[in-house]
Symmetry: C2
Subunit: 338 residues, 2 copies
Amino acid sequence: MRVNLSHGAGGKATQDMVQKLILSLLDEDMKRVEGGVGTDELDDGATLPAGENHLVMSVDSYTVNPPFFPGGNLGVLAASGTINDVLMMGAKPVAAMDSIIVQEGFELEELKKITSSMIQVFRENGVKLVGGDFKVMPFGDLRGVVITTVGVGWAEKPILDSSLKPGDKLLVTGTVGDHGAAILAAQQGIEGVESDVKPLTQVMLPLLEEFGDQIRAAQDPTRGGLAQVLNEWASKTGLLITVREESIPIAEEVKALSELLGVDPLQLASEGKAVLGVSPEVSEDVLNFLKERGCDRASIIGEVKESSKYRGMVILETKVGGLRVMERPLGAVVPRIC
Amino acid sequence: MRVNLSHGAGGKATQDMVQKLILSLLDEDMKRVEGGVGTDELDDGATLPAGENHLVMSVDSYTVNPPFFPGGNLGVLAASGTINDVLMMGAKPVAAMDSIIVQEGFELEELKKITSSMIQVFRENGVKLVGGDFKVMPFGDLRGVVITTVGVGWAEKPILDSSLKPGDKLLVTGTVGDHGAAILAAQQGIEGVESDVKPLTQVMLPLLEEFGDQIRAAQDPTRGGLAQVLNEWASKTGLLITVREESIPIAEEVKALSELLGVDPLQLASEGKAVLGVSPEVSEDVLNFLKERGCDRASIIGEVKESSKYRGMVILETKVGGLRVMERPLGAVVPRIC
């Protein structure tokens, strides 16, 4: 059997692959540092207990192609993605490291635009760039640039998506699918769709401060999109998640592109949005809080329920009043999307 | 200007590149977390103060080609390299994360051999694998597999190579250049040279416990080899380093290959050795300590001196009694060596 693109798409095939290559080979006590979040949580990051606090760390490789796209570039993506992963664990990002691999023959000025954008995002978000690695691969061995970023931060109490409870409300901080649609469009030579790539520091830190553990779950819907996040949460908790299609904000141009190309926008990546699970008492307050902070299209999209019959499933109430299962994405919509 | 292979070789061209792409763009206060080791130290890793301790973290991308080579494979290399980077900062490695990028069409069984080897090395060294990322790149965009590993550990007092003092002795824990020679040989279809890739946990942890801050500097001579490490130390401290050629242990087959191919073994990577700077009073004790722990070819190779005339230089006393400057490697001896 050979590795194929769907194995890297972030959906079910990726989880099966990670199970085969990593999880099945790890002894139980190798999956985490005692008292911390480890590999088998499949969360945005891991945690290590450190005194009163928890160190949160996250790593991701960014391979996006083209490296410059409407709304951003590889450097913005690498910095924002890493900052967001740390934030989604309930931590304040403090430091990052980068490992850059570039193809022989890549234009230095272009590469400098990428690193300069990355550094600017870190700077604006108070994240120090404390070290890194730089390698060059021969022409023919790599096309373009790959940046792997590591982010670390401190959390008093990390957010574990497994803490979702029946009754909790689900929110998104804005439109979904913009980044995936932008890359798909760029790869197809279609104009007019912009990535939403940006760090969520200005939204998440005040939100966590204000609402504390009433924010039960948080994730940025990157590879596999909203459908992937909700399915992960449902399967992790064994609860039923119901979502109203008409409440899910999708930009007009993303809708149009999805229809044109026959892809599901709920499976397309966002890179500047969060999906939140919050306790029902505060859901309206959280929504208002988000709207006051510039998240104009934030929306309550659904809720978490107890169900013996539909354990671990995600059900979409469609606009015409029907119900359908929102499947975990199976394969790759777009290669090198992030 | 375009990026070329020498920019990724770990020598002077790499440092110039990192200066252009990263360091020159970082404000002074972005280079480190207050009280920690940051980007401009160009050490094996960075540190973050955390209570009484320091968190040490390191990241490296491993691109070695071929992924299976005499003495090891990409997985052993990724785990060992990361463990060693954390050890060289004077820390006990406790956790790691991995980010795997594989080409579409790569044989799954081969990939599993690689991850399985990586996990085995982590297991044997008490390092938890707490999370990671997995991506696939389309055929033609990547050849083979790239693994980026992040290692973290705790140090009471990190080892800063800049703490070297005049009079300090320099040791190596064994033969140098073995890994680079093995990859070079494998790429040329020559047999009989084995990589030395292995973690140094069993050597370094007891050594640090026994000798504490009398170990002033430690680095694993990977890309750029011994010549790179010694030049970094000399230039960081502004001191003169002198080394006796006849004291530098080099395996016979590495010597032979180097002569055959016209490369300098002092510029070839090791992946299971450390270069140490130790205070003169303990140098013989350190040597004996290493030998008792299986480092049969450990050797005192030189010393650190004050010199106004030869500030920041490395001078090699050759076997025939002459003196020559040991240059920092300029370019790439071998691409995808680690």
